[in-house]
Symmetry: C2
Subunit: 343 residues, 2 copies
């Protein structure tokens, strides 16, 4: 049985979307056991709407909820909150293998670092979503916002963490790694990225293929796009914004005239396939890589199917051994001899 | 007569696309006079395909062409090249008011700084494209790649330069300025962006509305998105990549089945309207702001209509007085007293 803890109060649509997502996940995976943290009465009221296997779900009552406006370093002291209680249980109980939350990104990152803890040798955890690409597959963008300020050694580790995720989560052998910069040439970028380029070229344990540009995240052969958390976040949000705009314009135009409405009737299936292929949330949320257990940060606006996908992804990559894979990769690189200039 | 000089050899499809674009521009605007720099025989061979007003077009023979692989600081010494010859004429001849090129971005920037020269007080020129947004209008993204390394004073000036462009080029009064960061909260970003936020709040001459995220470039109320050239470039390319992927998937899915093919027949006009609304090149290329005259850098893969749009935009913003508008805005801010910490 794979035991996963879910912050039932995290996200804009909690607890209704989280509870519905949990029920869906339990239905899809008979070897799943879920612990929901949050306000017991609210969760129970939602659960009443569904039939589900009650022997595989338990609730831990937490009266407090962290919201998006709370300061993360303060928020993680609130042990009665659904997210922080979940982190403490994840840390203490060996048989709980993963955490899923759609709550505050900041508190999730700080809680991961300070409560759960990093894998030995990891400088900083990194957020890593799976972005749909033109090959019909996914590009892992790492980091996409956990670290606004980065050093070369951190970027080198992001390459390693995301490579392990690509292998374990997507079965990609020797995943191709690109460094997100403002041009493909070697000399491009600021000193941070120029230096990182040099280290990545020398580093063992990854398959570095050079610089990539923003457009390459969705349209190149790369499996992993390494980014500092600032520009990685800008890239992710820019792609999301563009996708949202295009789908919005499409919706408007496709219902603008009688002719286009008729056309839409013939095209519904094609549009559905298209939406599926371009779904940023098909694998649920972003992984918070580098921690001692699997943590998935689902989008704040997660719908039930997003939560269910996040839980399914968390279960799969735990079963496939993400954490041991990261540990093994870390052992293969001597960061102190690779990077002498720093710290 | 508005006299514009065009680097006829710049871009992947030169000189055929540039020449065709020039012919189109001359047709659309009877007060336009074009000077084409480049290999005379090649340009003349292309021109033979069209009928156009020969009294409003001249060729300056330049045997040399700068390509994308040339090092910009070296390339600008090549006075026989189509781009550098154009820059020298633009500098020396008062009646030439603008330059349009689809050639090397690096050489265009370096040439602008070292040959044409900056407006007094401008620290660095910045690239500023117009990105289609959800309001059916455009957001000006500045800088999107001229400066991989930035200081707060540069970002403050980019806000000013792009505000002048929004007023002069798009008739927007008191344009709303957002700072591209990794979150909307004031404390977000690295020290560069945190410091810039503070200065922009205090600065005269602009209408600063706070931090924006990547998704807001295409979907918010902002007229101007200020960015360091590194993350601005990442944002631009990420949006382009996403747009390209979505349109690619759409094309594939819409011809996948008989039903979707029938639907497409009914939807052609809707799809055409959609493509128009989402066209990154409707205003041609990016402006290189902060220089003594108007310079437009068109996309390397520019088609004839992109070149024509770049020329039309260059003519319009020259006529509307972009450079005097920038000068006036610069006079309204005392950067030395605003920013004491630097240099």
């Amino acid at each position: 049985m794979t035991k996963i803890i879910v912050d039932a109060m995290g996200g804009d649509n909690a607890p209704s979307a989280t509870v519905a997502g949990c029920v869906e996940a339990l239905k899809d995976d008979k070897n799943l056991y879920l612990i929901l943290t949050g306000r017991q009465n609210e969760i129970e009221a939602e659960l009443k709407k569904y039939t589900y296997d009650k022997t595989r779900l338990e609730i831990v009552d937490c009266p407090d909820v962290i919201d998006m406006n709370d300061i993360p370093t303060e928020a993680i002291k609130r042990k009665q909150s659904s997210l922080i209680a979940a982190y403490w249980m994840l840390k203490k109980e060996d048989d709980i293998c993963a955490l899923v939350t759609a709550g505050s990104t900041g508190a999730t990152i700080v809680g991961g670092q300070l409560i759960l803890g990093r894998i030995r040798g990891v400088k900083r955890p990194a957020l890593c979503p799976a972005i749909p690409n033109s090959r019909g597959s996914f590009t892992l963008l790492c980091d996409c916002g956990a670290n606004a300020e980065c050093k070369p050694v951190m970027l080198c580790q992001f390459a390693l963490l995301a490579s392990a995720y690509a292998e374990v989560g997507f079965g990609i052998k020797n995943p191709k790694v690109g460094l997100l910069s403002n041009g493909t040439e070697e000399h491009k970028g600021d000193p941070l990225h120029q230096q990182t380029y040099k280290y990545l070229t020398e580093m063992q344990g990854i398959n570095f293929t050079g610089n990539i540009e923003g457009r390459d995240i969705m349209t190149s052969q790369c499996d992993v796009a390494v980014a500092d958390g600032f520009s990685g976040n800008v890239a992710l949000k820019s792609m999301e914004g563009c996708g949202k705009l295009v789908l919005g314009v499409m919706k408007k135009e496709f219902s603008a005239t009688l002719s286009s409405k008729i056309g839409y009737l013939f095209m519904r299936k094609a549009i559905k396939r298209m939406r599926f292929q371009l779904d940023f949330n098909r694998y649920g949320g972003a992984l918070l890589l580098g921690l001692k257990k699997v943590v998935v940060k689902s989008h704040g606006s997660s719908k039930p199917q997003t939560i269910a996908a996040s839980i399914a992804n968390a279960a799969a990559i735990h079963r496939n051994g993400l954490v041991p894979a990261v540990e093994k990769k870390l052992e293969s690189v001597d960061f102190n001899s690779l990077i002498q200039e720093e710290e």
